[in-house]
Symmetry: C2
Subunit: 392 residues, 2 copies
């Protein structure tokens, strides 16, 4: 593949910091770089408490335990999301109630949520797709009205903001009771696999530490609050090696540089492809007025699956890897065969499953490569239009 | 601290391999080094199928899901173990039934197990404490008789063997239906945090891949067995970053060198401290005839907690960190306050909780440091004996 879909970016400091972590004598969890990462997030975004985890999946699982999910509880989330958004709650016994996506954006359609709320509903999980915020004022009103927890699946949403009244920008991940981030290699800031739980509701702070430390009060012990530590709760080993944190910290230090390059690539794609939108052949990503863009992803929307798959195929012939994204979870084998299945029609979710295409996006993607990708897409679509193929 | 309890060992190749992992274009899970690690274990120990995980805890959780633990199932394990041995099964709803340790060794007393088996018992979890095998023939007979699963908690047991009839050596981790290893920084072979599930019963192979990949059939997709992948099962993100695997592989390549040095340190401790055992002041570790020693740990057994704590204190005054180990889980806050609590007396387990002391143990510990540690211990115990303190 001449142009891969993704390429992990190295800032140049990662190996040096891993070396320092080893020299510190502690490369297990909660070493010096884990603490540096926690401080970075708490300082830059005002997150109340941060805990690195081995993945965003694990952060969501920790969230599900913290809000006390039990068999029979219902959790509302979009169907167009990664499987872990749902599985983290299914593992604790929840029934998942899927909502449709917005017509203008793959995020949850905020206006679809209220009819899905029942006395069993415990939480709304919003997914800030492509780093674009959900309408958090609408969500917050619903959560208040029905006393629900808000969990932000902020896997893709680092360095993005909700824009509220008077143009006040609030960092994504700081709004819900809890929020989960991902540092998977495909994200803006990476550590291969990796994640973080943000605890904005202080009621959860102490228990989060315990559950993350295998159900022991080890953290309190090291702070001198108890004189020995033992088994006090359920829990798992959610904390990553400090090697991972060392890698991550090198990335975080360079977040502005990384974001600047990503912004440039995103704008270049948009400039080059706008004519296809003007010609009615595709739609470009929509960023609502209540959200910033963190340049996580550049995607196109086609009218139908045939056009999308034609573009995937033609790009591949040129050595360029473009990919579709989620398969709607409400249509999955697991959900359709589970007792909890609700056989609903979610047309927007199905649309994004079939018609969304993600283009290569990584820091080292150069301008010529972006132009090359765009010219292949243009050639395919104009040619298809000329020959009255399936494009529209 | 002049002599820490543990010091992570670096072979010198770790950073080079992490660099290569980055250059490969894939640092998320199941990259090139993850595959190398799997092959290493499958080739060296004949393990049927290996899957790296983010921790031994996670490997145990994967095992609990695989054997289908449900609410009401009972699982038998030693009380003298790490909290994750129990929590992994508690998370799936199991009731834990704790067995006592052997009088001569902290491992589970195989003769205590049968009376604990009920129609609800689903598995026996053996813990190969300090890398010393449990009596696996006895365990296997029980498992056969009552159709139980055997899970080996082989967290400490890398490169150790059960010695059976005709002196046949079988690698620990290859005997149970499933086995879990740890690469925590305190182990012989490390990656900071890290673990591995070994699947010896092939019935579990395919589902293990799925559960480890967030409940998706992604692995089968990449092998071309299915034409798209989706949500087919419960699951989590158990797979570690390839950065972790790259670090681990550098260690594995040097396992013989590492083990050689650890053997030397272990034997040096034993030679230097034998006189204290001969004088009846302590007991040295016992390795039964049916087990090899993998030199994971050097521990001492005192007659009482006061003697042990005196030695800890005196060593600390000399800048040497020695540590006690597990607190018996059957006496934990969580277990005593859970509905499943069985108020049993486990005297050997309590004994190891109070009277076991672990001495500093790591590759870079030099001979002079071992001698220094031993001379401090000798001075304390002879002095205490002279002054008729609590040593015996």
């Amino acid at each position: 593949m001449n142009i891969p879909f993704n390429k992990p970016y190295k800032t140049g400091k990662e190996l040096e910091y891993i070396q320092k972590s080893i020299e510190s004598g502690k490369i297990a969890g909660d070493g010096i770089y884990t603490k540096k990462c926690h401080e970075f997030f708490e300082n830059r975004y005002g997150f109340k408490k941060c805990l690195l985890t081995t993945s965003c999946t694990d952060a969501l699982e920790l969230a599900a335990i913290l809000i006390g999910i039990e068999a029979g509880d219902e959790v509302i989330m979009p169907s167009y999301t990664f499987v872990s958004t749902a599985n983290a709650f299914v593992l604790r016994g929840a029934s998942i109630v899927f909502a449709d996506s917005r017509p203008d954006h793959p995020g949850i359609d905020e206006d679809c949520i209220e009819p899905l709320i029942t006395p069993k509903t415990k939480a709304i999980v919003v997914v800030h797709y492509a780093g674009v915020s959900c309408d958090m004022e609408k969500i917050a009103k619903l959560a208040d009205k029905y006393s629900l927890f808000i969990i932000e699946d902020a896997a893709q949403a680092i360095d993005s903001y909700y824009i509220g009244k008077n143009n006040v920008k609030t960092p994504l991940g700081s709004i819900g009771h809890l929020a989960a981030f991902s540092f998977h290699e495909t994200k803006n800031i990476i550590s291969g696999e990796g994640g973080m739980l943000v605890i904005n509701d202080e009621r959860f702070s102490k228990r989060a530490e315990i559950i993350r430390e295998k159900g022991t009060n080890r953290s309190a012990f090291f702070r001198g609050e108890v004189n020995k530590y033992g088994w006090v709760d359920i829990g798992s080993s959610f904390l990553p090696s400090d090697i991972i944190a060392a890698f991550l910290f090198a990335q975080l230090e360079n977040i502005d540089k990384i974001q600047e390059r990503r912004q440039h690539i995103w704008n270049l794609y948009k400039t080059e492809l706008r004519e296809l939108q003007d010609a009615g052949l595709i739609k470009l990503p929509f960023v609502p007025s209540y959200s910033t863009n963190n340049y996580h992803m550049f995607y196109l929307l086609f009218d139908n699956i045939q056009s999308r798959d034609l573009v995937i195929k033609k790009l591949k012939e040129q050595g360029i890897l473009s990919v579709f994204h989620y398969l709607s979870l409400h249509k999955s084998f697991f959900y359709l065969n589970s007792a909890q299945s609700i056989n609903s029609e979610l047309t927007n979710s199905d649309f994004y499953t079939d018609c969304l295409l993600r283009l290569p996006f990584y820091v080292e993607l150069n301008d010529d490569q972006v132009s090359k990708i765009c010219s292949v897409i243009k050639a395919v679509l104009y040619d298809a239009k000329l020959n009255k193929l399936v494009v529209s």
